[in-house]
Symmetry: C2
Subunit: 202 residues, 2 copies
Amino acid sequence: MPRYYRYLGELLDENVERISSNELSVRMKVTASQIRQDLNNFGGFGQQGYGYNVQYLYDEIGKILGLDRRHNIIVLGAGNMGQALAKYVKFEKRGFVIRALFDVNPKLTDTSIRGIPVYNIRELASYVRSNRVDIAVLALPKENAAEAAKQLVDLGIKAIWNFAHLDLDVPDDVVVENVHLSDSLMQLSYNIVRRKSEKKNN
Amino acid sequence: MPRYYRYLGELLDENVERISSNELSVRMKVTASQIRQDLNNFGGFGQQGYGYNVQYLYDEIGKILGLDRRHNIIVLGAGNMGQALAKYVKFEKRGFVIRALFDVNPKLTDTSIRGIPVYNIRELASYVRSNRVDIAVLALPKENAAEAAKQLVDLGIKAIWNFAHLDLDVPDDVVVENVHLSDSLMQLSYNIVRRKSEKKNN
């Protein structure tokens, strides 16, 4: 769904008003039948023979993705990754608003990043109790991440965006989305090695 | 494979010498038969009834992942994400060494980040011609990323780690690994919305 949303946004930028599943299929490099199946599951936006209304489809998928509401976000860890996320303004435009960062480093606490306050991690519990938090970002070293995740779950947080280099063990009602940068870089490296050995064998 | 490598590294940290596919299966939450199948494909490390030698498996998978060699990396875009990657020392320990960053912003060019020089993007071609570059990272706004990718391909770069918010159109012999942060965040949001509506319907 996020990928559809991205491609539909690009079509809107190009002032495309309608698109058939076949045209979308070529752009997105998936089969037209896959597209019809995916989009039918989400309420049947298409009209046979007319293609999809791009703006309508974009807006409807936006709602399905929860982009019609505001998400209050906190970031645990104000190191390189936490700071980069806090400085990134594009998320905010989509309704993903970072409200606070938390860190153990006394050099960082009580400062702010792009106007967003950095608190001592000790203040996490009291912050969560008195502010609505929809998403917590884990941008901590892996050594501290498991315990932090447990604390977040105990505090009632239901969604974690995890940048720490481990898989979290959380209850079923907590949603986790992982960004494992090291895994991604190693996957790239693996594909490089494989490509080279394929070449050698040809 | 990167995920196996990560879990085996954790086992080594815990001084575990041998592990059966069943034990690994419980930890990684995949089936034991999946594990046996994956690891058999990679040279049959296991011994029936004895389990896997963790250190041996870790080293062999490391080689498969290309971690026994040094990868020279350049980063296009010295903004938030490019800087965060340049400051991140853990990649370097694994042999992924960032050698240079490139940017259009004159405030950034001719500075350095953690000792890594930031060059003007105009110098990219001459840099690539006179230095070995194994991986190029795209940490640019999406508006500039497609053209930059084309230039990298023309310069003979065979591996791109793409953080830009678009899918790259590159020849088959170029390996691409995407990190689409916005897609990941929207996927999280989508799962939050879905979870809530499931709850309501129960």
